[in-house]
């Protein structure tokens, strides 16, 4: 206990240096709260395959990094390793310059927001938010001031004396945020904090969290399975699959230049259409259409690709054209989804596609096309579409890796 108190006092003097403001304002924090995963691995006892496999990731001070991937990809495990709730079986994790690999969670100077908020049911909102400070032995008046400051930011002032039971889902979520803010930690960790909210509130809270993070300037690691959340909130996104890091980059990078087929299919909504086609004389054969493939891309094809190429094209990269164009291929409309601002055709690729293996977010043998919502084709109609030049993505059919354009 005395050890903890000692640590907290140090941290407090550091933060309270900015007289008056109890919350860290961007730029006033003197330490560099970077986070570094250095070949960090986690192997659960009794399993062969690592849940997180040699993760190398560097997060800058003040950055909002989103870890995203399908369930079971190791994103939550990675976060929990950083929190100290999960053992690290290999490699290191650093916060700033400090190796925290084997340090207790409480000594890492982090705060975490849990998916189900994990509010202490027998404490009032104010006590929940001030709990960490109370344990650390901060004077009561300071705790009160910091809790009130955070409550003001999060619009919780009138609920400070309530128990979590008497709050709505959104309010509980804000209390969980408040509990993290009050501690003024070096790093915020958030484990799917929005997934227990209803759709509308989720969108609202998404922007609130993102703007709050920008305002506080605290390094944040955010875990989600929702690629929309990842794209809208993150400064950078790290995509994981089966414990392996697939790609790290800005939302724009991920959308424009996905490093492999998995990232291409994962990022973007509706998902990218992906099809594997034969390459013949510098052209990919998509049914009747012949899509030019660059020399560099063909040169980069390896033996495992077997002369085939995976062509990715987003629904929004397709134009409805006339049958006469060389690069046009036919799509038979199955259903049309109208969203007002957009309309999407879910259709089947037609033509001689014996070897083709086409799939999209809608399922196998389906392609999704964004069309003009004012000019919607009928069900069963056949439309001709072409990929806008330069907006196609090329991957090796075997390796799944991106090919140079």
């Amino acid at each position: 206990m005395s050890e903890t108190t000692h640590n907290r006092i140090n941290a407090d003097t550091l933060h309270d240096g900015s007289s008056g403001t109890y919350l860290p304002v961007k730029g006033t924090v003197t330490t560099m709260a970077t986070v570094t995963y250095d070949k960090a691995s986690r192997i659960y006892p009794g399993t062969e395959r690592p849940a997180v496999d040699q993760l190398d990731l560097h997060i800058e001070d003040g950055e909002f990094l989103v870890l995203v991937g399908p369930s079971g990809c190791g994103k939550s495990t990675s976060l929990r390793m950083l929190a100290g709730l999960e053992d690290v079986n290999g490699g290191r994790i650093l916060i700033g310059d400090k190796d925290v690999t084997h340090i207790q969670p409480k000594d890492r100077d982090i705060a975490m927001v849990f998916q189900n908020y994990a509010l202490y049911p027998h404490m009032t909102v104010a006590d929940n938010m001030g709990f960490a400070l109370k344990i650390a032995g901060t004077p009561k008046a300071d705790i009160r001031a910091r809790v009130e400051e955070a409550a003001k930011i999060l619009d919780l002032t009138e609920y400070l004396d309530r128990k979590p039971k008497a709050l709505s889902g959104g309010q509980r979520q804000r209390v969980a945020m408040g509990r993290a803010i009050v501690r003024q930690p070096q790093v915020f960790l958030m484990d799917e904090p929005l997934s227990n909210l209803d759709a509308k509130l989720r969108v609202q809270t998404r922007t609130q969290i993102a703007s709050l993070q920008r305002r506080l300037g605290v390094t944040t690691v955010y875990v989600t399975h929702d690629q929309t959340e990842a794209l809208t909130m993150g400064d950078r996104i790290a995509v994981l699959k089966d414990g392996l890091l697939q790609q790290v980059g800005t939302p724009r990078d991920m959308y424009d230049t996905p490093a492999n087929v998995f990232v291409a299919g994962f990022i973007g909504s509706p998902a990218m259409n992906l099809g594997t086609f034969k390459v013949n004389g510098g052209f990919a054969e998509v049914g009747p259409a012949r899509i030019p493939v660059s020399r560099a891309a063909i040169a980069a094809l390896g033996a495992e690709d077997n002369g085939k190429i995976t062509l990715g094209f987003r629904p929004e990269s397709l134009d409805v054209v006339s049958q006469a164009e060389a690069s046009a291929f036919p799509v038979e409309v199955n259903i049309v989804e109208e969203l007002g601002s957009d309309a999407f055709v879910y259709g089947t690729l037609k033509g001689s596609l014996a070897d083709a293996d086409v799939h999209s977010g809608a399922g196998d043998n389906q392609v999704i096309v964004r069309i003009d919502p004012r000019n919607v084709p009928a069900k069963g109609e056949r439309i001709f579409v072409a990929i806008r030049p330069g907006e196609e993505h090329l991957f090796g059919a075997g390796s799944g890796l991106r090919l140079p354009a």
Binding site: M1, T4, R8, A83, G84, L85, Q104, P105, K106, I110, A111, M112, F114, Q115, N116, Y117, A118, L119, Y120, P121, H122, F131, A132, I135, A136, P164, K165, R179, R183
Partner: protein, 293 residues
């Protein structure tokens, strides 16, 4: 907000009366059976209590009649006798000490079994559960020898210690699932907030397990209050007797004075009755309620 909150509940309330009308309405037979069973349970107690207000002459004349006239002298005699209060005191001391011991030890044991992962934790849980199937009757002779060798014969300590031991199985069985239901995230959140395992125990587990603790505490107290066999073996001086023993001794001492025995008996069971009816709701709550996050 309130409108939103109330309207669904009103809707469900109405629906339940609509649908459940046929089901909810009990036939006259139900009441007959119910009152019959309640009467069967209450009649002996009522007989004892009311019997205390009669004289022995009245009881011999008409064993099942009402007091005519009502006599309070039996109760006054018992209430003014020092031995009754001495025995109430003994029962209280034994009951409270047992309850405290059971609660403190029970919560500690249950916390470890429920939330620490160690080899043999399941075996330990089974061991405590097996204690339920171990009747005190079987153990009474070795237990007596053990208590005597500890030098606790004819002292309240000699009944408190075994009572704690025999109440622990129930306590552990009730508290372990209760403590297991505390979400893992709560422990993790507390760990990040700086509470160690002990901090988590005192700041989270103890306050959150209050309903369960109240349940096991009451069960232990009532069991101790009503315990007869153990005091019978351990205690051999009237000044050390607990109430059940006192009733027995009193009954054999005043075997002809039935009315006075009835008064003594009712006075000795009333505290436990009041206690139980006051906390009955909380007992059920502790058995069914888990921790809500």
């Amino acid at each position: 907000m309130t409108a939103v909150a109330t309207s669904p509940s009103r809707a469900t309330a109405r629906r339940s009366t609509d649908n459940g009308g046929a089901l909810a309405k009990a036939g006259p037979m139900t009441y007959v059976v119910a009152y019959l069973l309640v009467g069967l349970c209450l009649a002996p107690i009522a007989y004892i209590i009311i019997g205390g207000f009669r004289t022995n002459a009245q009881i011999t004349e008409s064993p099942s009649g009402l007091p005519a006239p009502w006599v309070v002298s039996n109760y006054v005699d018992v209430l003014t006798s020092s031995i009754f209060w001495q025995q109430v005191g003994n029962s209280l001391v034994a009951g409270i000490a047992t309850t405290l011991g059971v609660v403190v030890l029970g919560v500690m044991v249950s916390y470890v079994i429920a939330r620490y992962r160690f080899r043999g934790s399941n075996a330990m849980y089974s061991l405590f559960a097996a204690g339920l199937m171990f009747p005190m009757t079987v153990a009474i002779t070795p237990l007596y020898i053990l208590v005597r060798d500890l030098g606790l014969a004819n002292s309240l300590g000699g009944i408190i210690l075994p009572q704690i031991a025999f109440a622990l199985p129930t306590t552990v069985i009730i508290l372990v699932p209760f403590l297991r239901a505390i979400p893992k995230e709560l422990e993790e959140a507390a760990a990040i907030d700086g509470a160690g395992r002990l901090g988590f125990f005192f700041r989270m587990v103890v306050p959150l397990s209050v309903p369960g603790v109240v349940t096991v505490g009451i069960l232990a107290f009532v069991a101790s209050w009503n315990s007869y066999m153990l005091p019978l073996f351990i205690l051999n001086h009237e000044s050390m007797y607990t109430l059940p023993l006192g009733v027995q001794a009193f009954a054999s001492q005043y075997s002809v004075d039935t009315a006075r025995v009835l008064a003594f008996t009712s006075l000795s069971m009333i505290p436990a009755l009041i206690f139980f009816s006051l906390f009955e709701r909380r007992i059920v709550g502790g058995l069914t309620g888990a921790v809500k996050g």
